[in-house]
Amino acid sequence: MEKYTLSVLVENSAGVLSRVVGLFTRRGFNIHSLSVGPTADDRVSRITIEVKGDVYMVEQVSKQLSKLMEVIKIKTLKESEMVKRGLVLVKIKTNPKNRGEIIEVANVFRANIIDLSPTTITAEVTGSDQKIEAFLNMVEGYGIEETARTGMTALERGANTLKIDK
């Protein structure tokens, strides 16, 4: 099974997300990750969905999504033709002895330290799935108290855009 990324422009109105997510459950498709937010046009939201499956399944997902009234436009993004990022917040166990070491690791990953306490350090990492995984692997040894991770969000590379026809 491969991972596919769908970029979906929807009306920014109540209940849209539940229609989209409900469709996945109902038709037996699995959502790998999901992120939602308004676009520059506040009447439109963008939903980025990662799904795992074969090419036929993704085509079917895309066609079924297109049938929803609130779905304005949809595109399956190609791995090589998009930039894709996710974000994770990690709260790592720390003590005065290893705090510096953790900050060094964070620097290598260009992670931001966004909170400190005597016993914890919270880092923010943005990047691809692999980068986030690699960072989590690196800090696992110190002890991870908690993580909060977003779904991936993506845009096409270059001048290509997902435009709404006027």
């Binding site: 929807v10 009306e11 229609r19 079917q60 297109s66 009234m69």
Partner: protein
């Protein structure tokens, strides 16, 4: 004016003449407003009945039928009928009352999230939160329900929105659906591919689905078949696209279709499927059809293409347009005459023998053939679900697709009688016949009251075998004749029952008396119940198993 008045005004503007429904506190403002309008209403005995009536009405008049129910249990009672309409792509607008806005989400009395509950089987739904949106929402609902691939749309109105005073002042109520794309003509490249494939094919067959009737394209397809001479088989929803006694029609496919049609599906080298989902009951061996690389799938809904099987050539478009495009690409093409002879012979060789000797039971196949003959099929006919449905589908001559109303996709018992009431309310030109089993009739019984109250006549045929026949047969075939939960001998005396409603009835248990019984039933316009005694061991009869059931 208030919200309810706006909604009713918008219904009138969308051509609504009748609303089927059941009242309650939450839709009371709507009912009140209907009473001051040109729209008439029909009170059902259960909300489910009202929605099936709206479905039957809509199919006959080629409009979106309208039903209404109150919040909570009223709304949930609609659910089965909405799902029934959805599965057969029947246009419908369901209007529900909802608790007032400030109570939504508080588990108020008779509150249910009906838009949430119906999400999987409505084409679209609305919870109207602002009185200003009402006119636009109603307009959109009718547009969505009746265009493209049709389907049911639900509008949920909180009671306080219906009661909110509002005067329209030149608002923009134009529909605003930028995410809704309607398709017409198909891509010419695909049409050319189909034409080429057809010219090469030695054994082409058209598989007609219900989409043709929904598009009202049966005349176009009839002309197409006349010109090309391609033999036609059909799914249950596609019956009547060609009159079922037409010389180019070879029967229904599927697990209970005819032997001939199923064999043709297997033998053919090019299947032109038009407006069908290719559902599991129609095509059991999806993989086989996919692998044989002979499937051309034409549908208005792109998501149907490749859903159940990958076609060899996909064509997305409105069948009305596609048939015309295809005809022009084909020129004076005619289907291979050898193949036509082969299937003619096949049809002759596989024609079932219909016995009509007297043995205390009526042969339902013989009955339905006589019913077609004596009425000349000049009637609307509805069925319930089970043996009665399949006997009718295979043995009653269906001349027009929209005159045969059945729950094909969802298989809903309790559909036939209310759908017949809807069909009868929709027109008075032709009689309406409801074919039922004694199981499904008992899911409908209360609607006899609706029929009588509003003088909506239905000719009822009740195949009585004291069994849930289809399951009974299933238990014979697959559960070693362990007949459980299929015996329904508890009564009632159906003649006395309909008499209680003032409906006349008759009974027939010999084939030789069938003609007289049918003539008696069809005499006059009023409702009538004909009880037809059928053996509990009468097989459904199908391509897969022709064996007669053994007595337990």
């Amino acid at each position: 004016m208030n919200g309810a008045d706006l909604a009713v005004k918008a219904l009138e503007a969308n051509g609504v003449k009748v609303v089927f429904g059941y009242p309650g506190a939450a839709n009371a403002p709507f009912i009140d407003s209907v009473s001051h309008s040109s729209i008439e209403y029909v009170l059902s005995r259960n909300e489910q009945g009202a929605a099936h009536m709206a479905s039957g009405y809509g199919r006959v008049n080629r409009v979106a039928g309208v039903c209404t129910a109150t919040s909570g249990p009223g709304a949930t009672n609609l659910i089965t009928a909405i799902a029934t309409a959805y599965m057969d792509s029947i246009p419908m607008v369901a209007i529900t009352g909802q608790v007032k806005r400030e109570l939504i989400g508080k588990d108020a009395f008779q509150e249910v999230d009906i838009t949430g509950a119906t999400l999987p089987f409505t084409k679209h739904s609305y919870l109207v939160n602002d009185v200003k949106d009402i006119t636009r929402v109603v307009n959109e609902a009718f547009h969505i329900a009746t265009t493209g691939r049709p389907g049911p749309v639900l509008i949920d109105f909180p009671m306080d929105v219906l009661k909110a005073p509002y005067e329209e002042d030149g608002e923009e109520n134009e529909i605003n659906l930028r995410g809704y794309k309607l398709l017409g003509k198909a891509n010419e490249t695909q049409i050319k591919k189909v034409a080429q494939a057809l010219k090469k094919a030695k054994k082409p067959v058209i598989l007609a689905g219900g989409g043709i009737a929904l598009a009202n394209a049966q005349e176009i397809i009839r002309d197409f078949v006349k010109d090309t001479e391609i033999p036609v088989i059909a799914t249950m929803m596609g019956l009547g696209v060609l009159p079922t006694d037409d010389k180019k029609f070879y029967g229904m496919i599927g697990s209970h279709g005819t032997k001939c049609a199923n064999m043709m599906l297997n033998r053919s080298d090019l299947v032109i499927a038009m407006g069908t989902r290719l559902g599991d009951r129609s095509v059991a061996n999806a993989e086989g059809l996919e692998k044989s690389k002979k499937l051309v799938h034409i549908d208005i809904d792109p998501a149907e293409i490749g859903k159940n099987m990958q076609p060899y050539i996909p064509v997305v478009g409105d069948i009305k347009d596609v048939a015309v495009q295809l005809k022009s690409a084909l020129g004076d093409y005619k289907a291979n005459a050898e193949w036509c002879d082969e299937v003619d012979k096949l049809r002759k060789d596989t024609a079932p023998e219909i016995s009509k000797e007297d043995n205390g039971f009526v042969n339902p196949r013989y009955f339905l053939e006589r019913l077609s003959e004596l009425t000349k099929s000049e009637a609307y006919i509805t069925t319930e679900v089970g043996q009665n449905q399949l006997w009718t589908a295979n043995h009653y001559t269906i001349k027009e697709p929209n005159r045969f109303l059945t729950s094909g996709g969802f298989g809903t018992m309790g559909y036939g009688l209310p759908a017949a009431i809807g069909a009868s309310r929709a027109q008075s030109e032709l009689p309406v016949i409801a074919v039922m089993g004694d199981g499904s009739f008992q899911m409908d019984l209360p609607e006899l009251g609706t029929m009588q109250q509003y003088d909506i006549p239905v000719k009822m045929v009740l195949f009585k075998n004291d069994r849930l026949g289809m399951v009974h047969e299933h238990q014979y075939l697959f559960y070693g004749s362990n007949y459980q939960m299929v015996d329904i001998t508890g009564g009632p005396d159906f003649a006395k029952l309909v008499d209680a409603y003032g409906i006349r009835s008759g009974r027939v248990s010999e084939n030789s008396k069938v003609d007289d019984a049918i003539k008696e039933m069809m005499d006059g316009r009023e409702s009538y119940l004909l009880i037809v005694d059928v053996s509990p061991y009468e097989p459904t009869g199908n391509a897969l198993n022709e064996s007669r059931m053994k007595e337990a």
